[in-house]
């Protein structure tokens, strides 16, 4: 099944454990600046923490920009062939999301490879802000939020077997009933 690495900015705390995990896993060094996933933080207008990582595009612009064909989409992953890379970093500039990174001490770009199918950053994220989900589930929570924004949610509190509980329901407007 095709899966995508998705980030949920509302849940991200900006702790950068994903960055450390990625750099340690791929380069064997404790250096968040060598990570293929980076948390971008803006404050205070708007308040945002968004992990930026490769989307493994099906029509990758990074591959189009590569003059030596070092980037190719193989199965679910846009893979980098380090041996043919000439370190021009055109792919870094070509990515519309800025999701490929470069580092002064490396001869090739830093790009997510999904850890061979089990992204470690997803396992280590303490907030559940990173998900590795089936492709058809992308956008699921946004759709749900959009639907909920149409309803006027009400809350009632009640007691069940001595326990305080709350139930939420959508009240349909009177004008809609008439």
């Amino acid at each position: 099944m095709a899966r995508k690495l998705a980030a949920i900015p509302e849940l991200c705390s900006g702790c950068r454990i994903c960055e450390l995990t990625c750099a340690i896993g791929h380069f064997g060094v404790n250096n968040p600046k060598k990570s293929a996933i980076r948390v971008l933080v803006t404050y205070p207008h708007p308040v945002m923490r968004l992990p930026v990582v490769c989307s493994q595009c099906k029509l990758p612009l990074c591959a189009d920009a590569c003059p030596v064909g070092a980037l190719r989409r193989i199965e679910q992953v846009v893979e980098l062939d380090k041996s043919s890379c000439i370190s021009c970093m055109k792919c870094v500039e070509a990515c519309p999301f800025g999701a490929i990174y470069s580092h002064g001490a490396l001869d090739y770009p830093v790009k997510c490879d999904l850890c061979g199918g089990r992204p470690k950053c997803v396992e280590k994220c303490p907030k559940g802000a990173l998900r590795f989900i089936p492709e058809q589930s992308l956008g699921e929570s946004k759709r749900m939020n959009n639907v909920l924004s149409y309803t006027h949610m009400k809350e009632i509190e009640f007691t069940e077997q001595g326990q305080q509980r709350t139930i939420r329901y959508a009240e349909i407007g009177k004008e809609e009933l008439s």
């Binding site: 509302e10 849940l11 705390s13 900006g14 702790c15 950068r16 454990i17 450390l20 995990t21 340690i24 064997g28 060094v29 404790n30 250096n31 968040p32 600046k33 060598k34 404050y43 205070p44 207008h45 308040v47 923490r49 580092h103 002064g104 001490a105 280590k124 303490p126 907030k127």
Partner: protein, 614 residues
């Protein structure tokens, strides 16, 4: 055993007067003995004091400010984003330090710096720009009077990148408010000891860093294995999710119920309307995001937004417990939006929320009791919960206008101007007391009295334990726990990590010895590291005694002995001075200090060895 890795073995020294910036090597002996962070800072400040014959004006060019991460800072392990600011404090005139979370320390390390020392005074308002291996002092007079957020934005614009870390002071630091703080990552602060005023006195608006180096780690596999165990423990803790949701705000309810919540300038121990400024209120109406320091799974930071009313549009990371208590219940403020706004003002103007709340509380009580006249208040009366008067006073302190000019000099300045105010201000050594009422627990009074930086809870926090133990807790046990805390808690500041995973989620402190061993390759047990931390405690004590402090300064303020808590579970409690003195004597004995609190002479010999040069 010597240090094999974990450091860049380099310090950066900047003299703003001459404009000289140089990197110096750090010897293995120095690294092994002083560990990092507060340890490095204490030694460097001590050496600087000796070079100046112990005559240093905290706000003069000779005062050295050290910014030092630790060997664990930035490493893959829980909450490794800490970094310390160390100097002679303008609030107390003696040793001062304050730690900051976020990512500043990580960036400094990635620029290859184990310790940054700043002396002198720039001719024009400047920033220090450390770009990997290059250091520049850049005049930016246009930053004068800018708030922290404004200044950070202008600096990023000038340098043409947002991928940098900025530690900045606000107007309060520039006007030398003695409890001015240093702000980084927008709303993380090195809050206490007046480190912002030290930067202000040097005409340095900001320290800006960019670094990309690998952090040296002796045994990465061992570190990752140990850290994974620690993270797994934290994530399985029953309060882990609650921490992420509320952070330190959950202490509000506890403190009020326990009767130790500062209320009305510590007149009361409980705030009847605490429900309006507690964690639940925050979650229901204000919180818009979680935020964490580097590599921290607990994400105790809460980003809050006021969505309606008078303070609409106020956004701030915080408050946490101390800020909420000192700017909320301590001032009789029961509007969470107002607390948020006051917190944001303090962050933006660059002032410590604890000291600000404490001094405004004292001013309100002073006026209530007739110690301060309306003229003293510049004709503007102030009462409990008077939000707009409180906001106005915060502005006046930062800009040193009217009564603000007196409050800006801290507890000592206020008492100098109005001696009767000593009955109302809670401070030790000139530092205003944190938000835990020590009258409820004599061990907490001992902790404040013997803290090297003044009445702050960072060195020892024993109040919850004493309340739990009640009368079954002997003096011996109290002193032992205070000393244990004073060894362990500063150790976190030496290593460059946060103490919250330990104190709040019970992460075993033994982990930290294993982290240290894996990173430095210097096999150390926790007991050995605690011993080293104790050596540093003796050193900071030595700095203070050589600057003229003694037993008379290890004393609690008038209110703690003379005014019982009026309401709450601890109503009627007060510290009996005679038994407190006995506790203090026992503490000195157990520490091996003499009757006036002087550390043993060997401490002076040990720390006077010349080690920093490689």
């Amino acid at each position: 055993m010597s240090v094999k890795s974990g450091y860049f073995k380099q310090s950066l020294h900047v003299d703003l007067t001459s404009g000289r910036c140089e990197r110096r090597g750090l010897s293995d002996a120095f690294l092994a003995r002083y560990v990092g962070g507060r340890g490095f800072g204490a030694k460097m400040v001590w050496d600087n004091l000796r070079a100046h014959d112990f005559k240093i004006d905290p706000l003069g060019p000779a005062n050295l400010l050290v910014i030092a991460p630790g060997p664990l800072t930035g490493a893959y392990l829980p909450s490794s984003g800490k970094c310390s600011f160390i100097s002679i404090s303008p609030a107390t005139g003696v040793y001062g330090d304050s730690s900051i979370g976020g990512t500043l320390g990580v960036e400094l390390r990635q620029a290859g710096i184990d310790a940054l020392g700043i002396t002198g005074r720039a001719e024009r308002l400047s920033i220090l720009w450390i770009d990997e291996d290059e250091t520049t002092i850049l005049p930016m007079p246009e930053l004068a009077g800018k708030t922290c957020l404004e200044a950070e934005g202008l600096i990023k614009e000038r340098l043409g990148t947002h991928d940098i870390k900025v530690a900045v002071i606000g107007p309060a630091g520039e006007s030398l408010v003695r409890f001015a703080c240093v702000n980084a990552d927008w709303s993380r602060n090195a809050g206490r000891s007046g480190m912002g005023a030290v930067l202000g006195s040097k005409n340095l608006k900001a320290v800006v860093v960019r670094g990309t180096k690998d952090l040296p780690v002796h045994d990465l596999a061992a570190l990752v294995a140990e850290a994974d165990k620690a993270y797994a423990y934290m994530r399985s803790h029953k309060y882990f999710k609650m921490w992420q949701r509320e952070g330190l705000m959950m202490v509000m309810e506890y403190a009020s119920a326990a009767g130790i919540l500062p209320t009305h300038n510590f007149k009361d121990g409980t705030f009847p309307r605490v429900g309006k400024i507690n964690g639940e209120t925050m979650l229901k109406g204000y919180k818009i995001g979680d935020t964490a320091c580097f590599a921290c799974a607990m994400s105790c930071g809460n980003i809050n937004l006021v969505k309606q009313g008078k303070y609409v549009g106020t956004v701030t990371e915080g408050p946490e417990y101390e800020s909420c208590a000192m700017l909320g219940s301590n001032l009789g403020v029961d509007s969470f939006a107002a607390v948020l706004h006051a917190n944001q003002l303090c962050d933006e103007l660059g002032m410590d929320t604890i000291s600000t709340g404490s001094l405004i509380g004292a001013a309100i009580e002073g006026y209530e009791k007739g110690v301060l006249s309306l003229a003293d208040l510049d004709g503007q009366p102030i009462t409990w919960g008077d939000e707009s008067a409180i906001m106005a006073l915060i502005h006046k302190i930062a800009r040193r206008e009217g009564i603000g000019n007196v409050l800006a000099d801290g507890a000592r300045g206020v008492i100098r101007r109005w001696p009767e105010m000593h009955k109302l201000i809670l401070h030790v050594k000139g530092m205003e007391q944190s938000a835990y009422d020590s009258r409820a627990a004599s061990s907490m009074a001992l902790a404040y009295a013997t803290s090297d930086i003044g009445a702050h809870h960072t060195r020892a926090w024993t109040i919850a334990k004493e309340i739990e133990q009640g009368k079954n807790w002997s003096d011996e046990e109290k002193v032992d726990l205070v000393i244990y805390h004073q060894s362990l808690r500063p150790l976190f500041d030496m290593l460059g990590v946060c103490r919250l995973p330990w104190i709040e989620l019970g992460l075993n402190e033994q982990h930290y010895a294993r982290f240290y061993s894996a990173i430095t390759g210097r096999e150390s047990t926790l007991a050995e590291l605690l011993e080293q931390s104790n050596d540093i405690y003796n050193l900071t004590r030595l700095i203070n005694t050589r600057l003229g402090l003694g037993r008379k300064d290890d004393a609690m303020p008038y209110k703690v002995y003379a005014c019982p808590i009026q309401t709450g579970a601890t109503a009627g409690k007060v510290i009996d001075q005679a038994s407190f003195e006995r506790l203090l004597e026992l503490y000195y004995r157990k520490r091996g200090w003499d009757a006036d609190g002087n550390p043993p002479p060997e401490a002076e010999r040990l720390h006077s060895e010349c080690l920093p040069a490689a």
